[in-house]
Each structure stands twice: as C-alpha cells, then as structure tokens.
C-alpha cells in the first residue's frame, strides 16, 4: 500500500505526459467521434430536470413537515401527524439515498412501468424533504421567541402569528440554505445511474465504456458539475448579500 503511494507520483507524471501528448486524439475519440458529447449534454438535461423537480418536492414536503413539528413542539397538538413526520425523518435521514432510490425503483414502483425521471424525482424529492424540514425547523426555532410573543400579545392566535409574523421571516432566513440544498441535490443525483437513468455521470460512464479511456470523460463530467455548482454558489452569495443588506 505504501510503496503504491511512492510509485504514484511517478505514474501520475507519466499519465499526464501521455495525456498532453495525446490530447487532441483523446479529445476527438471521447467527445467528437460518433457525437459522443451528446451523452453529456443529454445527461446534463436529465440531471438538471431531476434536481429542479426534486428540490420543489423537497421544499413543499419540508415546509409541511417543519410546520407540523414546530406546531407540535409549541402547542402539543397534532400528535399523530408529528409521529408520522418523526418516522419519516428518522428513516430518510437514517439510510443512504442510493438505497432509498433502489427501494423506490425496484420495490415501491416494483411492477409498474414508470418514467425513470419520475422515479428519481420522487426519490430525491422525498429524501430532500427530510433535510429541508430540518433546515426550516431550524429557521423557525431561530426566530426570536419575542417575535412570537409580540404577535400573541397583540391578539393573534397561533396560526395567525405563524402566517403573518413567523413564516415570512423564516422564509427569508432559510432561502440561502434552500439554495444550498439545490447544490447538494445536484451532486447527489449523480447516483441515479444505478437505476439506469442516463444522467450526467452515467453519460460519462457510457463514453468510458465505449472508449475505454477514463480520464477525459470523468474530467469533463467533473468540470460540468463544478461549473454549475460554482455558478449557483455565486448566485447564492449575491442573494445572501442582498438579503443581509435589505432592511426587512
């Protein structure tokens, strides 16, 4: 194992040398020939579609769960619903998303022919919902208790206080975290190749399986993810700055 590491710089050097030498050929083989680049663009479309819809489901589900749980915490009501939510959170946050994806594909939608994009959206949406719920619950708890008391002291009931006073502030506070959830999901969907969905990562796999050269397809896939993550992070920073500077 350790001699392997010693060896490794050496071999990496050789590999990089070979690459620079071969680069035009390799580039042609992996991307141009037989329009192989299409695997990447098609895959990217799938990846983005799955991510966008999964985030949507995740946010809706997350808000519902968070509101149920906070209401239970504050008022002691909704015991049954709260219990269901707790089980949901425990199971989803306690198992790998890959295993969830496989179960949803092979077991839940076992003998139904259903669009795989739909399966992935459902799986990642349900998964994301559990994490979003905790983000939003954190957001609700981080609102100063004084805000709640001020609302109640005017005469608003629990629901009115939530709707007029608490949730608008929560939403503003968690917006960056929700943006971040989008980034997390974008990366997480890379495992959807497991259910033979041709997402971006799988697109690279297909090219690899045809050209038998791992470097360029993997690098291209990595760069595309990196590009989108960096763009999104940038947008998120701008958003956060705006939110911080706004007076309300």
């Amino acid at each position: 194992m350790f001699s392997a590491i010693m060896d490794f710089g050496d071999k990496l050097g050789t590999a990089l040398f070979k690459l620079s030498y071969n680069f035009p050929n390799q580039f042609y083989l992996n991307f141009i020939k037989e329009n192989r680049w299409k695997y990447l663009t098609d895959g990217l479309k799938v990846t983005l579609t799955v991510t966008i819809f999964a985030v949507l489901i995740g946010v809706i589900l997350g808000f519902l769960v968070a509101i149920i749980r906070s209401t239970h915490d504050k008022t002691g009501k909704l015991t049954l619903l709260n219990w269901v939510c707790t089980v949901y959170l425990t199971v989803i946050r306690g198992t790998p998303v890959l295993v969830q994806l496989l179960i949803i594909y092979f077991v839940i939608f076992g003998s139904v022919r259903v669009d795989k994009v739909f399966v992935a959206v459902v799986a990642f949406g349900i998964n994301s919902g559990a994490y979003v719920a905790e983000i939003i619950r954190g957001g609700i708890m981080s609102i100063d208790q004084g805000q709640f008391e001020a609302g109640r002291s005017i005469g608003f009931n629990y629901t009115q206080t939530m709707i007029y006073i608490i949730l608008p502030q929560v939403f503003k506070n968690v917006l960056p975290a929700l943006g971040n959830e989008f980034i997390v999901l974008l990366k997480e969907t890379s495992v959807s190749g497991y259910i033979a969905l041709q997402d971006l990562t799988k697109g690279g796999d297909i090219i690899r399986s045809q050209t038998y050269s791992p470097l360029l397809p993997l690098l291209a896939v990595a760069l595309i993810y990196l590009f989108f993550v960096m763009i999104l992070s940038k947008l998120l920073k701008i958003l956060e700055g705006r939110l911080r500077n706004s007076d309300h």
Binding site: G146, A150, G155, F156, Y164, H248
Partner: protein, 252 residues
C-alpha cells in the same frame, strides 16, 4: 344607590387572586394578589429573579399561571374556555427587546393588528396610527423598517403598536433597560404622557426615579411575593420592611 357606571369605576380593571407559577424547578410566583383600577399607574420593582416579569406576563397569559385567578374587566381570563386572544387585544404589551416585526415597515407594524383583528379598513388604521406617531414625534418614519431606527425610536414605535389596538391597560416589561442611556429619556417622556392621559399602566422597571415621579402605586416583589405596597413617593421615602430598605439603598 350606585349607578352601574359607578360600580364599573369602583370595581378593579384587573383583579389578581392567589396567583402561582411554577417552572420546572423554580417557584416563580408564590401567591400574588392585587387589584388594579382604571387610571392606576402601577410600578413593580424588586431584585432580579423576584418574579416581576413572570407576574406581568401572567396578566395576559403569555405565561400560563399554574393556579389562581385573574379577572380582567370582570371576566375570568384564566378560564381555559375564554378566548384569550380577544382579551389580549385590550391589553397592550411593551417588551424590553421591543420585538418589532423586522420584515414590515413601521406603518405595517402598527396597522396589521387593527386590520386583521379588528377589521379596520386600511385608511382607518393608518389615520389612527398617524395620529399616534405624531404624538410620539415619529410621524416621518412611517415607511422606515425597524432596523433603520434607533433603540429609543424602536421602543416608541412598540408603544404605539400596542396603543393602535386601543387597549384598556398597557403592560411594560423594563421598557428602557435595553436602551443606551441617552435614549431612555425619550421613552420615559412618552410613558409620562400616557400616564397623564389616565391610561392604566403596569410597569416593571429599574428606573426608580421615574417610578417615584409618576407611580400611583408601587409593588415591591421578592421571591415571588408582593412584600410591600405603597403609594408612589411615600413608598420610596418611608419603606416599612427591612427588605425594601436594603433594596432601595442598593439601587438608589
């Protein structure tokens, strides 16, 4: 014979009996009874942790009393069946930390209650809010957001927010202790005004000089009980219990 108006005048606005409040491991209120009449300016003083805030917060059930009764305008509001939200509209509350709604303009802070709860039109709510803003000297800040205000301005807005609901009593919990010393005066000024207008007030504070000046009644609390009650100036100048004497020596 007394007319019903006279009875109303003479019966207390708030009547607290044997109020107890237990927190998990603290006995915060240990049998508090007191009557507060219309026009009273009641100051609650006492050492830290003596239960002053808890007492005040029980009055509008922000804190749920463990036992005891509170009659407000003749109605037992500790009864679980009463709709406390209705009564809270008549009991304005001002917090140490202001607790303005940061996502709304000043005007929205002032009008959301009257509009959503008392079904005032926007015009009605805004014109009354404007009137009150003028009284506290902040008529130009209606479109500002809370973060754009100084502490003293925030607290004056918080007072106006409570007043916009046209309450019958105003509860203050250390309204000036989160303020820079230079801003204390402007808030006390507004409170003095209110007292002169005969607003019923219950004020928890450490500002002894102010209490001495405007209180009609002072309650001294220690360890969850009211140890001594007095009439304004008298209370400070002739403390009866040893406990109150030591306390006054420390804080004056």
């Amino acid at each position: 014979m007394t007319t019903s108006e006279e009875i109303k005048e003479k019966s207390p606005l708030i009547s607290v009996k044997d109020l107890e409040k237990h927190f998990t491991d603290v006995h915060a209120l240990n049998g508090v009874s007191v009557d507060i009449y219309r026009g009273d300016v009641v100051f609650v003083v006492g050492p830290s942790g003596s239960g002053k805030s808890t007492f005040l917060r029980c009055l509008n059930r922000l804190e749920e009393p463990t036992s005891g009764t509170i009659l407000f305008e003749g109605i037992n509001i500790t009864d679980k069946k009463c709709d406390i939200n209705k009564h809270r509209q008549k009991m304005g509350m001002v917090f140490q930390q202001f607790n303005l709604f940061p996502h709304m303009t000043v005007m929205r802070n002032l009008t959301i209650g009257p509009m959503k709860l008392q079904h005032k039109t926007k015009e009605e709510a805004e014109s009354y809010a404007h009137e009150l803003l003028k009284r506290v000297g902040l008529e130009t800040r209606a479109d500002a957001y809370p973060n754009q205000l100084s502490g003293g301005q925030k607290q004056r807005i918080a007072i106006v927010r409570a007043l916009c609901m046209r309450p019958d009593v105003m509860l203050f919990d250390e309204p000036t202790s989160a303020l820079d010393p230079e801003m204390v005066g402007e808030v006390l000024e507004v409170m003095r005004d209110l007292a002169e207008d005969k607003m019923t007030m219950v004020v928890v504070t450490h500002e002894m000089a102010f209490a001495k000046e405007i209180a009609t009644k002072v309650l001294f609390m220690a360890e969850g009980q009211i140890l001594e009650t007095g009439e304004g100036r008298e209370f400070f100048e002739n403390p009866k219990t040893e406990r109150l004497k030591t306390f006054l020596e420390k804080v004056l």
